[in-house]
Amino acid sequence: MGSNGIRDRVAIVGMGCTAFGEHWGRSVENMLVESTNAAAQSAGLALTDVDAFWLGTQGSGVSGLTLSRTLRIGDKPVTRVENFCATGSEALRQACYAVASGAYDVAMAVGVEKLKDSGYSGLVGTAIPDDGTVGMNDMTAPASFSLLAPAYAERYGVDQDQLKDVLARIAWKNHVNGARNERAQFRKEVPIERIKAAPPVAGMLGVFDCSGVSDGSAAAIVVRAEDAYRYTDKPIFVKALSFVAGAATGASDPDYDFTTFPEVVASARDAYRQAGVTDPRTQIAMAEVHDCFTPTELVLMEDLGFSERGQAWKDVQAGVFDLEGELPVNPDGGLKAFGHPIGASGLRMMFEAWLQLRGEAPPDRRITSLGEGRLALTHNLGGAPGECVSFVSLVGAEPGA
C-alpha cells in the first residue's frame, strides 16, 4: 500500500483559460466553449478527438451533461467533479490518472464557475438540511480564514500591527503581479496604505485581503508522456499529484492551533516524495498557491516548506516571494488579483505554470529561473482551517529520465 504517484507518465499538451472577472454578458456555456476550444487548439486537436472529460464545478452545473450538452459531444464519458475550492485541481487529477492507467489516450480536465449570477456578495454555500448546530454554516469564508491571524500572531509573538503589514504586503504583491496579467480580474497595483485602510470584512482582514469573486473557466488536455511531443514541442510533464481530505478534527480537537493546515503539510510531503523533491525552496522555481485570503498565503509558505515555522512573515517582508524574489509565488496575481471562480481556479494555477514553463508568460512577469530545470508547484485548498481538502502538484518542462 502506498501513494506511488505517476511521475512523468503523463503530460499536459494543451491549455486554455478565459479572462476572469464579472462576466455579466457571458454564460457558463459560453466560457466552457472558450476554454475547451483554446485548450484543444493549443494541442492541435479537435474537441471530438478527446476521449474522456472531467468537469469541475462547485455549483454552476450538475452532472456531465453540463459539458456534453454545451459542446454537443455525444457518446463520451464526462464526469462532474466537486471538491470545494480544489474542484479544478481534482478534475485535472482524475484526467491524469485516467490517461496513466491506459484507459484513455486523450483526456480533458475543465473547470468552470459562474459566481456573479447569484446576486449575492461573496460565496454562497449549498444548504444541506441539518439540525441548526453546524457552526460552519454560520461563518463566512473570510471569517473562517481570519481565525489564522490572531493564532499566528500569538504563537510567534508577532504584534498585530506587524502582522497587518505582512498581510498587506501579500495582497500588494499579488496585485502587482495581477497588474501584469491581461486575464486577471484586478489589473491595478494597490498601495500598501490603501490596502491597510480598506473597510474591515472579518478580523484583521479588509476587502483587499480577500480574493476576487468572479466568473471564469480553464481547461487542460492530458496525454501519455511518450505521446506528448506529437501534440506540442513544449509539453509540461506531471511530476506529482497529491490530494488529502482532512479528518476535519481542527474544529473539535484542542491540539490544533490554527497556525497551519495539516492537510497541506501532508499533501506537500506526498507530492515532494513522488517528485523526488527534498529541498522545496531551491528545487521549486515558482508556486501558484491558494491565497484565498492573505493569512492563508502566509501560513502556506510554511506548510509547503518554503519558510521555516514562524519565519514566513519575515520572508514575506524580505520579498522572497515577489516576482523578482528567490521563489516567486502567484506570479499571475493569484486568487487575490486573478480572481477565484471556484471550479476553474485549480486549472488557472496550472495555466500559469504552463505559460511560465513554456516561456510564454509576458516579459514583465516572466520567471527566468525556470529555465534551469526547476519545477513549478500548484497548491489548491478547499474548506476552512481545521477542516479542509488540499491538493499539491509539481510539473516540469523536462521529461523523466
Binding site: S118, G119, Y120, S121, G122, V124, A127, P129, D130, D131, G132, T133, G135, M136, D138, M139, T140, P142, A143, S144, S146, L147, L148, P150, A151, E154, P199, P200, V201, A202, G203, A247, T249, A251, S252, D253, P254, Y256, D257, F258, G386
Partner: protein, 479 residues
C-alpha cells in the same frame, strides 16, 4: 404544603437607558434603565438560563419531575414552548412540560401549580415586555426570567432541603377590562388608569388578608413585601393598603430591570432571597385580572443554597450602551435593509430530533474506549478511531477559554458584527461558536467564557436554538 428548594433568575446583558428613548423621540427623559433581551434571546432562552441557575445546585436525583412555563411572550403558538426548556434541562421524559402562556399574570399560576404538585416541580417564568415606541409599556417594561423549584409533598417529595416554606396563599378572581392585547398586536391596550386602581383595591385586600390569615401572620410581621403587576398605580395603592411597614417593601427593580411582566414578582423574589436571613417572612401580592397572594418563610438552609450569579450581580454586570435604534431593530419595530446574502435556512426537523441532547442541552460525546471528548458526538473517535455510540458528556456548565477568534462584518446578524471564537473546554473538547453579549474590541485569546442557551436565528418561522459562549461571569468551580 412543601416549599421552595431552589431558585434562580436571569437578567439579560443589555440595558436601554430610558433617556435614550427621549433623546430620539423627544419628551421628558425618564430615569434609570430597562433590560432588553439580546437579538438572540426570547422567552424560551431566557427561561432556560434562569432554570440552569436554579438547578445548578440540585443533584440529578433531585431534578424536577414537572415543568410549568409561563410567559406573555411565548416564542411559538400551537407548539409547546416548555418542551424546549425541558430538553435544554435534560429533564426526565416522564416529566410533563406545560405552557401557561398568554396572560401577564400566568407566572403566578405556574408557581401555584408547582406548589400544588405532589412531585418536585419547576416553574419557569420568563417574559419580554414592551409596547409601541414612546409608550409607557416600552419605557417601563423589562425582559427577564426566574425559575422556582418546589419540593412536592408526601412520599414523592424531593429530599433536598426546603429553603423557604409556603405559609399561605390567597386569591380574588374577577373579570374586568384593565389590560388586554388583541391577537398579533405588538402592544397592549389599557382602560383608564383610575378605573383599574379602584377595581384592584378590594381584590388585593381580600387576597392578601386570606394569605396572611393562612400563614397566621399580621402585616407588621411581614419582613419583605413584594407587590407586583402591570398596573403601576394600582400596585402602589395596594402596597399602601397592606399595612406592611414601608421599610419592609422590597425594591421592585423598576429602575434597573423594569417590569418583566409574567416574571416580575419572581425576579424580585429571587433578589429578596439573595439577601434574606433565616426565618424571615416574604409576602407576595400580584395584581392581574384579580389578585393573588403568597406567603413564604425562609429557613436556615437558604444561606447555603443561594445561586450564582445573584440578581444584584446580574443587574450590576449589564451593558447600558444599547441604542434606541438597535432596540427597535431587535424588537422588529424598525425594518432594516437586509444584506445581499441568501435568506437563512431553517433547521430541519428530523436532524433536530436525532440530536436533541446535543442541540438543546449541549451534551457532547465521550469515546467509550479512550474517553476523548467530542463536540458534537461522533460515530468514530478522532483519537483512537473507536467506532460506536459515545457516552453522553454534558458540557453546558463546563468553563472554556478562547483559542482564536474573529469579528465577522460580512455575516448577517441583527447585532453586527458577529464575533466568532474557537473555545477549548476545561478537561478537553473544543467548539467553534458565536460569542454573545461581547464587545468585539474586548476579545482576546485566553479570555474565559461560559456557555449560554440562545435563539441563534429564526428562518421561515422556525426558531433555531443552540448554544453560544459569553464572557465568564461565575467564578470557576462556584455553584
Amino acid at each position: 404544603m412543601g416549599g421552595l428548594i431552589a431558585y434562580g433568575a436571569y437578567v439579560p446583558h443589555h440595558r436601554l437607558r430610558r433617556s435614550e428613548i427621549a433623546a430620539v423621540l423627544g419628551g421628558a427623559a425618564a430615569p434609570g434603565t430597562r433590560t432588553v433581551a439580546g437579538h438572540d434571546e426570547d422567552s424560551t432562552s431566557l427561561g432556560v438560563e434562569a432554570a440552569r441557575t436554579a438547578l445548578r445546585g440540585l443533584s440529578d436525583g433531585r431534578a424536577p419531575r414537572r415543568l410549568y412555563f409561563a410567559s406573555s411572550a411565548p416564542a411559538y403558538r400551537d407548539k409547546t414552548n416548555a418542551t424546549a426548556v425541558h430538553a435544554a434541562l435534560r429533564l426526565d421524559r416522564s416529566a410533563p412540560a406545560a405552557d401557561m402562556c398568554g396572560a401577564v399574570r400566568s407566572g403566578f399560576d405556574a408557581v401555584g401549580a408547582a406548589i400544588d404538585s405532589p412531585v418536585p416541580a419547576l416553574a419557569v417564568l420568563s417574559d419580554l415586555r414592551g409596547g409601541l415606541p414612546g409608550g409607557a409599556d416600552e419605557r417601563d417594561g423589562g425582559d427577564a426570567a426566574a425559575a422556582l423549584v418546589f419540593s412536592g409533598s408526601g412520599e414523592d417529595a424531593s429530599t433536598a432541603p426546603v429553603i423557604a416554606e409556603v405559609m399561605g396563599q390567597g386569591w380574588a378572581t374577577a373579570e374586568f377590562l384593565d389590560r388586554w392585547r388583541p391577537q398579533d398586536a405588538v402592544a397592549s391596550r389599557t382602560w383608564e388608569e383610575r378605573f383599574g386602581e379602584q377595581a384592584y383595591a378590594p381584590l388585593a385586600e381580600s387576597a392578601f388578608a386570606q394569605a396572611l390569615k393562612e400563614a397566621d401572620l399580621t402585616p407588621e410581621g411581614v419582613d419583605h413585601l413584594i407587590v407586583a403587576g402591570a398596573h403601576g398605580r394600582a400596585v402602589r395603592t395596594a402596597a399602601a393598603r397592606t399595612g406592611v411597614p414601608r421599610e419592609a417593601w422590597a425594591d421592585d427593580l423598576s429602575r434597573s430591570i423594569g417590569n418583566p411582566g409574567a416574571a416580575q414578582f419572581a425576579v424580585v423574589l429571587c433578589d429578596v432571597l439573595d439577601r434574606a436571613g433565616a426565618g424571615e417572612t416574604v409576602a407576595v401580592l400580584l395584581l392581574g385580572d384579580g389578585a393573588s397572594a403568597l406567603v413564604l418563610r425562609t429557613t436556615e438552609a437558604l444561606a447555603e443554597r443561594r445561586p450564582a450569579p445573584s440578581v444584584g450581580e446580574q443587574v450590576a454586570g449589564g451593558d447600558d450602551s444599547l441604542t434606541y435604534a438597535t432596540y427597535l431593530t431587535w424588537r422588529g419595530l424598525l425594518d432594516r435593509e437586509p444584506p445581499r446574502r441568501p435568506d437563512p435556512e431553517p433547521p430541519s426537523a428530523p436532524p433536530m430530533h436525532r440530536s436533541t441532547d446535543w442541540k438543546y442541552a449541549l451534551v457532547a460525546g465521550r469515546c467509550a474506549s479512550c474517553g476523548t471528548r467530542h463536540l458534537p458526538p461522533a460515530d468514530v473517535c478522532r483519537a483512537c478511531r473507536h467506532t460506536g455510540r459515545m457516552e453522553p458528556e454534558p458540557m453546558a456548565d463546563v468553563p472554556a477559554t478562547i483559542t482564536t477568534y474573529t469579528v465577522d462584518h460580512l455575516a448577517y446578524s441583527l447585532n453586527p458584527p458577529v464575533v466568532t471564537a474557537v473555545v477549548d473546554f476545561e478537561g478537553g473538547g473544543r467548539m467553534r461558536c458565536e460569542l454573545a453579549d461581547t464587545d468585539p474590541g474586548s476579545v482576546r485569546i485566553g479570555n474565559r467564557v461560559e456557555m449560554s442557551f440562545r435563539r441563534t436565528q429564526t428562518a421561515r418561522g422556525v426558531h433555531n436554538y443552540f448554544w453560544k459562549a459569553r464572557p465568564a461571569r461565575r467564578v470557576p468551580g462556584q455553584g
